[in-house]
Symmetry: C2
Subunit: 294 residues, 2 copies
Amino acid sequence: MAWRFALRIDPVASDDPRESFDDTLRIIDPLAPALPFGELSAQRGDGIFESLGVVDGHPQEVGPHLRRLAHSAELCELPAPHLAQWRAAVERVAAEAGEGENVMKLLLSRGVEGEGSPTAWITLADAPDNARARTEGVRIVTLDRGYALDVPGRAPWLLLGAKTLSYATNMAAIREAKRRGADDAVFVTSDGFVLEAPTASVVLRVGDRFVTPAPSAGILHGTTQLSLFAHLEQRGFATAYDTVAVDDLAGADAVWLLSSVRLAAPVSAVDGHAIPVDRALTDELNAYLLSPRD
Amino acid sequence: MAWRFALRIDPVASDDPRESFDDTLRIIDPLAPALPFGELSAQRGDGIFESLGVVDGHPQEVGPHLRRLAHSAELCELPAPHLAQWRAAVERVAAEAGEGENVMKLLLSRGVEGEGSPTAWITLADAPDNARARTEGVRIVTLDRGYALDVPGRAPWLLLGAKTLSYATNMAAIREAKRRGADDAVFVTSDGFVLEAPTASVVLRVGDRFVTPAPSAGILHGTTQLSLFAHLEQRGFATAYDTVAVDDLAGADAVWLLSSVRLAAPVSAVDGHAIPVDRALTDELNAYLLSPRD
């Protein structure tokens, strides 16, 4: 990980009227000690985050990412983020990015245990080289997420639609995929429906229709998927949120994993069975996703 | 949180032959910055932990806690902890505890992203005052954990038997319990079986038999429950690991939540229905649990 920059944010109340947030932002050495051991992010994974792509200095989809951060905060009963403060911080960090692709992470934790105030920070690092995933594609395995499709709606304490810092299972699923000789995983419900990848959304093409699993299934509403759907609709394609059966993956005309930094990674195999990769369309989609988007 | 002490551990390989670990242990101000932003504990909840009770300077059940730490490390594919090193660190921290009750947390994370070596530390803090929970008891609500009883056995990537730092859901369940006017939660499977509390084990008394849900259900094997069962067996009671239906809670002669610091908290109500508290037996169990145990 090539860390480039870090910024600490002293969060202000969501209705704070100030116009400049400069004195609430502090530059921090990304490798220096910053968080005390009592931090609830480190002790309990008790916080939320967003990962943004930054392309040639332009932070992508800042508005949708900040709206999702606010949504996660609400689900986790964290103080509502002051969106103008976060936007100012994102712009401050993006100014350090320069040419090429970077990854910016926004993090908001419940703070140090016993102190009662949240901790917030942003990191900037070089993006990994995703060229191969974007062209040759990724082989996926489907892994049971353990719950049935109707669970998220009736068990909000499971935080299934929040982008929390409790990602140990997501990381374990990626390790399991690699152990099976694949590149990535796709979580499915115990009753056989597609959910999401550990760090990406799933989009299928069936004819001229593009489908992604509905966020009501306790998954994240992908910012990159949302942006791509708008682009596809402009090009005259139909798009839909729907329930997607596991068997639909192997039967689709094409499948992609979509995420903010890797962007559109075509799926080349599902559980060991090759599926077609539409290289020309994928290149076109990634050209769009690499263009400045707000 | 009254933090008392913190110790950083530089983990050595599990087969390291050295006899003294003094130069691998560093005292750290528990309130000072210690972890860089790139720490995977803080970014991903990617690590494991143990909480030990320390009573009048004696750390309780160190062996069982270290064995469970090693078990969690294996499930999470973290480097195996050097148990003698951890024991030396626990003893170093316990020496700072003094009279009364303290809570010691052992933490092992995957380290700073990109560096490839784990981070390890121990904190010591005053224990909260648990007198009321131990005598008057705790009111619990049952909350769906979202998965069926047979899931943990077939989906190890869910890490359901590991004590990971990804505890956001556990914390959310306790908030949900308090919102419903209760003190704590008990997770149950979507098919109606009792699992565990977010930070405690569940033990039921039915006649002269004490029962706890089997750890094969993707729950932690409670160190305090294990110690209590040994004590109960010595006193001539029968103990068992079993599947426990949710309805068994309200029908039991008594129910306790067992954990390393709060110890035996009798359950006084389940989902708003009062259940009997055996005050005399509970006092006796807590007297045992407060005695020095190894």
